[in-house]
Symmetry: C2
Subunit: 459 residues, 2 copies
C-alpha cells in the first residue's frame, strides 16, 4: 500500500475587529491608551501591521453614519472606514481589509465603485460588511424621521447587493484591449450597461471602474435576525456573529450552513466567525485582574442609560442591584438590532445577572463572548468551538488596543500554529485567498448579447 499524504487539517480563519482603544468601553481610561486614537491613522496602521505579523486573515471596522454612544462616557466618532482602510492598505501588504457600509443610507453605484476602488488600491484585499443600519438617529442624518421597517431594510439590502454585483461584473476581465497601434483602448462589447430596474433601485451602469482584482470584494454580514440569516445564506462570504454559549453557537452554525445549502450554495463557501473578547494574562490571576480593573473603570450610571435605551425601558426601571424586569418587549417588537436585543436579555436571564453585573459584561464585549484566561486557555476555548462545529474561525475583539492585539498575536497565535490549526504564513495574496474562497465568475461573461456601452460623452 502506498503511503498516504495526511489530509490537510481544517484551518481557522481569524479576523481582528478594531475599535479605537479597544472593545472594553473603559479601555480608554487605562494609562497605556491614547484617547485620541480614533482619529489617528498611525494607531490603526500599527494595529494592522500587528495583525499582519500574526498572519490574520483580515481586520475589520464596524460603522454607522451617526454619532454613536455617549460622548461623555467613551471615545465617539471615527474615521469613515473605506478611507481608513485605504490608508491602512498602503502600510500593509497581505492583511485583508473589511469596512462596514450601510445599504440604507448609500446609493449602490457610489458604494460599489468605492469598494472596487479599495480593491484596486489594496491589490485585492477589500471586503464589505453589509449592514442595514438600525435606529432613528441615523435616519435623521438623511432627511428621514425614522428607520425603514426591518423587513424593508433587508429587502433593500438584498437588492443593493444584487446591483453591486452587476456593476462589478459590468466590465469583463479582458475588456481592456490597449491596442495602441490601432488606437482601440477598450472592447465596447465587454463593457455593458446593467439596466437594473427593481423595487428599490434603477441603475443603468456600467460601473466606471474596471473589474477589480477579486472580481467582487468579499461580502460580510453580521446581523443574526431571521432576515439577517437569510441575507447571509444568499450572499455572504463570511459572517460575524455573537454567541455566549457553545450550544447557541452550534445551533447558529448548523442553521446558517443549512440555509446556505438551501439557497443553492456550497456550505463551505460561507465562513462563520463568532466574536470573542479575549482578556489575556500570563496567569489566570493576571487575566482576572485585568478584567476587574477594566470593569471597575466603567461608570454604571451612564451605562444604565444606554442599557435602558437598548431595552426600550426607562433607566429608573433598572435598579443597579436588581435583575432585569420581567416584562420586557419581545424581539418582534424591536425594529433594529433584533438579535443583539435577544442576546442581552437571554444572557441576563440565564446567568441571573443584576443590572450592574450585566453592565460589566456588556461593557466588555457588547454582547459578545468574553473569555478571560491564559494564552493556552484562550487557544483551548477557540479550539473547542472550532472542533465542536460552532465556528470556521473567530472575530477577535481585543478589550484593549494595542496591548490586547499584541497579546493575542504574540501569545495565542503561536499556540494555534503549533497545533496546526492556523497558517504560519500567507499562501495567497487576496482576501478571498486567505478565506479559501474562489474568485467569482462574471455573470455577463457568456451572455450572447453584451450591450454596446457608448456612454456619457463630453469633451
Amino acid at each position: 500500500m502506498a503511503s498516504q499524504t495526511p489530509s490537510p487539517q481544517r484551518q481557522l480563519h481569524l479576523n481582528a475587529f478594531l475599535m479605537s482603544t479597544g472593545h472594553h468601553e473603559a479601555s480608554w481610561r487605562l494609562p497605556e491608551s491614547d484617547p485620541h486614537a480614533g482619529s489617528r491613522v498611525e494607531h490603526y496602521q500599527q494595529l494592522a501591521r500587528t495583525a499582519e505579523r500574526g498572519k490574520l486573515d483580515s481586520i475589520f471596522f464596524a460603522d454607522s453614519p451617526v454619532l454613536f454612544g455617549e460622548v461623555g462616557r467613551r471615545p465617539a466618532g471615527k474615521l469613515e472606514p473605506t478611507v481608513l482602510l485605504t490608508a491602512i492598505a498602503g502600510a500593509t501588504k497581505r492583511i485583508g481589509l473589511i469596512a462596514t457600509a450601510s445599504t440604507t443610507y448609500n446609493e449602490p453605484f457610489n458604494l460599489a465603485r468605492r469598494f472596487a476602488s479599495v480593491d484596486w488600491v489594496s491589490g485585492g484585499r477589500a471586503g464589505w460588511n453589509v449592514v442595514t443600519t438600525a435606529g432613528p438617529d441615523a435616519a435623521r442624518n438623511f432627511g428621514v424621521d425614522d428607520q425603514p421597517a426591518h423587513a424593508v431594510r433587508y429587502e433593500r439590502a438584498a437588492e443593493f447587493i444584487e446591483v453591486a454585483r452587476k456593476l462589478w461584473d459590468s466590465w469583463q476581465d479582458d475588456a481592456i484591449l490597449a491596442d495602441k497601434a490601432d488606437g482601440v483602448w477598450g472592447d465596447a462589447e465587454k463593457i455593458r450597461t446593467i439596466d437594473h430596474e427593481g423595487r428599490h433601485f434603477r441603475v443603468r451602469g456600467p460601473l466606471n471602474v474596471p473589474r477589480s482584482p477579486q472580481g467582487h470584494p468579499l461580502i460580510v454580514q453580521a446581523g443574526s435576525s431571521e432576515n439577517g440569516k437569510e441575507l447571509a445564506a444568499r450572499y455572504a462570504d463570511a459572517v460575524f456573529t455573537a454567541h455566549q454559549t457553545l450550544a447557541d453557537a452550534q445551533e447558529f452554525y448548523r442553521d446558517l450552513k443549512a440555509r446556505t445549502a438551501a439557497a443553492g450554495r456550497n456550505p463551505e463557501s460561507i465562513k462563520i466567525l463568532p466574536g470573542i473578547v479575549p482578556v489575556i494574562g500570563a496567569t489566570e490571576k493576571q487575566a482576572l485582574e485585568l478584567e476587574r480593573e477594566l470593569d471597575r473603570l466603567i461608570k454604571p450610571e451612564y451605562a444604565r442609560i444606554q442599557l435602558a435605551k437598548t431595552l426600550r425601558v426607562n433607566p429608573e426601571d433598572l435598579p443597579l442591584d436588581r435583575q432585569l424586569p420581567a416584562d420586557l418587549p419581545s424581539e418582534d417588537e424591536i425594529e433594529g438590532a433584533k438579535s443583539r436585543y435577544t442576546l442581552i436579555v437571554q444572557l441576563a436571564r440565564r446567568e441571573q445577572l443584576t443590572v450592574r453585573q450585566l453592565i460589566g459584561r456588556l461593557g466588555g464585549g457588547r454582547g459578545h463572548r468574553t473569555f478571560t484566561g491564559t494564552p493556552v486557555q484562550v487557544a483551548d476555548a477557540i479550539q473547542e468551538w472550532f472542533d465542536g462545529g460552532a465556528a470556521d474561525g473567530f472575530n477577535i475583539m481585543p478589550p484593549v488596543l494595542p496591548s490586547g492585539l499584541d497579546a493575542f498575536v504574540d501569545r495565542v497565535v503561536p499556540i494555534l500554529q503549533e497545533r496546526g490549526l492556523f497558517r504560519t504564513d500567507y499562501t495567497g495574496r487576496t482576501l478571498r485567498d486567505h478565506y479559501g474562497l474562489a474568485r467569482p465568475g462574471n455573470q455577463y461573461a457568456d451572455a450572447g448579447a453584451a450591450q454596446l456601452a457608448s456612454i456619457g460623452a463630453a469633451f
Copy 2:
C-alpha cells in the same frame, strides 16, 4: 530714512490636474504610456511625488459618477477620487489632495464625513472640488431619468455646502477632554446637533468625526456658468477655470473677484487658477513635434461623435473639413456644462477652425488653453497672465503623464522659482497653508446654547 524690507513678491499657486496617461486624448497611444495606468495606484503615487518634488500646492482629480467617454477611443473608468487621494496621502507628506465629488448624487452627511476623514488621514491636506454633475447618463445611475435643472442643481449644491460646513463645525476643536481620572471623554456641550432643515436636506448631526485639522477641507469650484460663479463667490477657496485668451481670463478674474467682494468676502480669499496644457520641448521645434505627434494619433471619426453630443447636433452635421454650422443652440438651451459649451463654440468661431482642427484643439485640452513651447516660453506665458490680472495661479494639465509633469516640474518650475514667483520649499503643512488661506473659525464656537448631544446609543 530707515532701510525698507522689500514687500514680498506675490506668489503663484500651482495645481497639477492628473488624469491617467495625460490630458491629451491620444496620450495613451504613445510608447511611454501605460494604458492600464488609470487603475494603478502606483502610477498616481509617483505623479504625486513628482508634484511634491516641484513644491506644487496640490494635485487634483476630476470625477463624475458615470462611465465617461468612448471606451473604444481612450482610457475610461477611474478609481473613486477620495479613495485614490487617501492612497496617495500615505505616499506623500506635503502636497495638497483635491478630489471632485458630486452634490447631486451624494448625501451631505456621508460626503462631509468622508472629506473630514481624508483631512485627518492626510494631516490637513484635503480639498473638495464641488460639482453638480451634468448629463442624463449620470442621473440614470441613481434612479433618475434626467439630471435636475441647472438652477436646481446649483441651489442644492449651495445648501449641500452649508450642511457640510455645519457638520464640520458640529465638534468644537476642544471638544475632547480625555479626562481619564474622572472618566469623561468628550464635552457634550461642545459637540452639537446641527438640526438643519432646508429645501433639499434635513440633517440632524452632529458629524461622527471630530473637527479635522483644517477645520473645513478646502472648497474648490470649477463651473463658470452664472450659477457656478455665484456659488464660487459665496463658498470657494479656489476656482479652476478655462480660458483661451488673456482678455477672457482677465474679464473672468475681475468679475469673480468683484462677485466675491459683493458676497462680503475678501477677494484675496478666493484663488483663481485657469487651466493650461503645457506642451513642453527643449526647443520650439521639439515642442511642436510632440504636439503634432499627439494630434496625429487622434481618431477624428470617434472624436466627431463626441463633439456632436456636446453641441447637441448629429455627427453628419459636422463634416470634418468644414467649420461649425451657424445654427447651434444658445447657452441658455444647454442644461449642463454650459460654460464649456460656449467656450468650444467661441473658440471655433474666433479662430475659424474646421471641425478637424477643432477636434485637435479639444483633444489636447478639452477646451483649456494649450500652450506649446520651451520651458522659458511656458514660464513667460504663465507670468504674463499672472502679472496681467488674469490668474492667482494655474491648473497645470500635462498632455502626457508622467513625462509632461516631469518636464513641468524639472524645467518650468525652476524658472518660476528663479523669478521669485514660486516657493522653493513648503512653508506650511496644510493645503490651506499652501494657498495662503486661514483655518476657518467654528460657526458654533460662541453660540451660547450649545446643545447636548446624547445620540444614538446601543451596546
